[in-house]
């Protein structure tokens, strides 16, 4: 009797809810996988890649920057700025804003919002991600932009921005999302970090926040009031948090996810066999390297003076190490050619700057042995390990745990170095611990990656001032390289700029402060129902408003 009642009830409930589910599945919607949850939707604090991607679709910029693969550089197109005009010596730019751009609360976006954005981004109390980066603007000692000298507002939609005369100004100087003055000015500046607008932004972009379910997903919906809106664009974009890589693969195969990045090469091959999936690599933005501590870190920490590292302080030794490592083996066997050999910190996507004449350090153990011998490292006691001044050539190579590529690379490197008489212990460290060791110069050698910023910026990585050059982990110092870096900061003709960039590559390749391993492709997998996707070095998830769904 009871069964007779419950069975039809449950069955009808199932049928009813199944139809409902089908109806929602058919919405114009794309699901993008992200590995971790964004911290904020406030562009001021969008420090991470995910936050950057999402806020770029929530907030409009003055200019719309696009990557030009032929030029190997960005080009600017109108966005909030309808048109603009540089003065003859490029020290000021006159900008005319669109008059139809609005915040989602209906208020127009004006020149005052633009000025306020630069003001707030440079404010020390706000601790924005752009703090201290307005060196080309007229600014005070504490890094804050001098609003009076920099901006001249002609009317609500017309302003002039003045730059310091001796600086090289680029389009990137204007590449900031504009924030709403009328919302932010109601909040104390030192309280913006924890304000509600971090989670419910008053945005202006072509998408607006619909729902944020913590640690699960963020739904953006098309903003019909934005001038970029188009009837055919995808109506909902869902950023789904998928922390587990295997789950991500399952979900993309099943169609629960439409777009994922950082696919492993072996999986890319397999996913490529699915008819509904497409694989596209983003090239030339990230390279792996073996960092050799050029200086004695302990001595430097104690005295702030430079003493060459007992193993890696000698250029010949570093060159020998680079010759001894079979980079191609890793590229062929693990990366399955989703990448290319790296010979300098400038990749071939920078068509004009890239020096294709660099030979690089092709695997050559004999040459490595010869260089080591010239540097005084010989195996006198015939135990298979080289010695010099009673020191054996033995060191620990540190890698971050949970990274299969670097584990594979470390094993290959260990075996390669053993062939030339160098003993290597591989140690896996949790990323935070590894970074602590690298930053405090406690480690001798490590494998990490560097992501190349746009525009190319060499100074943070390679300039000799070790106190202020935060990314120069290896303690590289070379006067010639310093001169080139400083010259690059001056106004040069384009030809001189290109020549300086190429010279720098030759210098650094010869010095081998690190062993440049390979450029690692960011492998993207997406459902072929999405059309008109732009995937280039500017980023895998960009310009979603141009994406279309196949009917």
């Amino acid at each position: 009797m009871r069964l007779k009642f419950y069975f039809p009830a449950i069955l009808s409930l199932l049928i009813l809810t199944s139809c409902e589910k089908e109806e929602f599945r058919n919405t114009s919607r794309v699901v993008i996988a992200i590995q971790s949850e964004p911290e904020t939707l406030n562009p001021i604090y969008a420090f991470g890649i995910n936050e950057g991607v999402i806020t770029d679709h929530l907030f409009l910029y003055l200019l719309d920057l696009k990557w030009n693969a032929t030029k190997g550089d960005v080009e600017a197109f109108p966005m909030l700025a309808d048109k603009w005009q540089w003065n003859p010596d490029s020290t000021s730019i006159e900008i005319y804003l669109r008059k139809d751009a609005k915040w989602i609360d209906g208020k127009p976006i004006s020149a005052y919002d633009v000025v306020y954005s630069f003001d707030i981004y440079s404010d020390k109390a706000v601790q924005s991600r752009f703090y201290g980066t307005f060196k080309n603007f007229y600014h005070f000692e504490n890094g804050e932009v001098n609003i009076q000298k920099t901006f001249s507002v002609k009317d609500s939609f017309h302003l002039i921005i003045n730059f310091m005369p001796d600086k090289i100004i680029s389009l990137y100087d204007l590449a900031f999302p504009i924030v709403p003055k009328h919302v932010y000015e109601k909040i104390k500046r030192n309280e913006i970090q924890t304000a509600e607008i971090n989670f419910n932004p008053v945005s202006s972009g072509v998408y607006k926040l619909k729902k944020w379910e913590r640690n699960q997903y963020i739904i953006l919906e098309a903003n019909k009031d934005c001038f970029l809106y188009d009837e055919d664009m995808i109506k909902e974009i869902i950023f789904k948090v998928v922390p587990d890589y295997n789950s991500l693969l399952t979900q993309i195969k099943k169609g629960e996810i439409d777009f994922a990045e950082d696919i492993r090469p072996s999986d890319a091959r397999q996913l490529g066999n699915y008819k509904n999936l497409k694989i596209v690599p983003v090239r030339g933005r990230q390279y792996d390297y073996v960092g050799w501590s050029n200086i004695d870190g302990k001595y430097f920490n104690e005295t702030k003076k430079i003493k060459p590292h007992r193993l890696f302080g000698n250029k010949k030794v570093r060159q020998a190490l680079s010759y001894a490592i079979n980079r191609k083996e890793i590229l062929d066997q693990y990366l399955l050619n989703y990448g290319s050999l790296c010979n300098s910190p400038i990749s071939e996507i920078f068509v004009n700057e890239f020096d294709s004449s660099l030979a690089g350090f092709e695997f050559n153990p004999e040459k490595a042995k010869q260089l080591l011998e010239e540097a005084g490292w010989t195996d006198r006691n015939k135990n298979g390990v080289l010695e010099k001044n009673n020191f054996e050539f033995s060191f620990t190579l540190n890698i971050p745990s949970g990274n299969p590529l670097r584990e594979f690379a470390a094993t290959v490197i260990k075996n390669n170095l053993k062939q030339v008489g160098i003993e290597t212990n591989v140690e896996k460290l949790e990323f935070g611990v590894l970074m602590d060791g690298v930053l405090n110069r406690k480690l001798d050698a490590w494998i990490l990656a560097w992501f190349i910023p746009l525009p190319i910026d060499l100074k943070p990585y390679w300039y000799s001032d070790l106190t202020n050059t935060q990314m120069n982990f290896v303690g590289y110092q070379n006067r010639v390289a310093d001169d080139i870096i400083l010259n690059l900061e001056k106004k040069n003709s384009y030809n001189t700029y290109i020549e300086l960039m190429k010279r720098f590559q030759r210098v650094i390749s010869d010095d081998q402060p690190v062993t440049f391993l390979y450029w690692v492709d960011n492998i993207i997998c997406y459902n072929s129902r999405i059309k008109n996707i732009t995937i280039d070095p500017f980023g895998p998830v960009q310009r979603i408003w141009e994406w279309r769904l196949k009917n």
Partner: protein, 328 residues
Amino acid sequence: MTIEKLYLVLKRFLASLFILFLIVTLVFVLIRISPGEPTQKYLSPKLSPELAKEVQKSYNLDEPIIVQYFGFIRNMFTGNFGISYEYRMPVLKVISQHLPVTLTLAFFSIIIQLLLGYFFALFSVKRKNTLTDKFLRRASVVMYVTPGSVLGLILIFIFSVHFDLFPSGGFHSYFYDELSFPGQIKDIAAHLILPLLTLSLPGAALFFNYFRDGIEEVLQKDFVLYLKANGFSNKVIFRKHVLPNVLKPVLSVAGIELGFLLSGTLVTEVIFSLPGMGRLMISSILSRDFPLVIACAFVSAMFIILANFIFDIIKVKIDRRIWREILR
């Protein structure tokens, strides 16, 4: 007797508070002396080096550890665990956003574990030494030793990929709000079935063995024979005399298991993309979000103590003679 009971409960409550205080202190010291800084994420060629220094100052990380500790303890006693560096909101608010998933999973999982364990044990004991009994005993060992990550992936492969019966991750669908009420219930149920199975099957295997061995042992006791000889029915003997004796060790283990479930079930949460306490705690450790790590440890420890207390109360309810021994 009631006053003595109250005294014992109060004593246990104060001891629990002291343990919580010790745990918080220990976690505070450990996380501060271990390498890594929350400001490491501000290291980028695009960011100014001064930014990290400014942020460090605003987190009071430039002060001596002892000053930070006393500041933290003072705030803790007013219920303020601080602001999460990552989430930019009070840590207790962050935890409250992750607790519902953990509470739901833990509550249903412990019930499933106990029920499955109990009924399979009963089924097995009734068929003692038959092929079914032997099979269930072997299978329970296999189930118990199977890692959660493997079990989860197997379940996803079978029920999600192959048969497409359940979604492979998440707590509910994106269109949850747009569903009717029965649709919402079904949606959550569909999302939770696989995680619950992943969480519960190994535990059920454990309880199966506890129940099975317990029932078998008690059934062989002389008092059972005596009761039978006195004409008591098997049902009455089992319910009133066998089960209470079997339950004591089972409930002790259940208390520990519930505490473990409430403090987060990392593997299941990661595989099924569930926003629970386990994931929150690990991500806070990896990002060196000090206030959040401490608050997570505090809440987890509190739940473990609470879960054990609840099961102790149940034990007292079952066997009133031993309340002194249990509450002490």
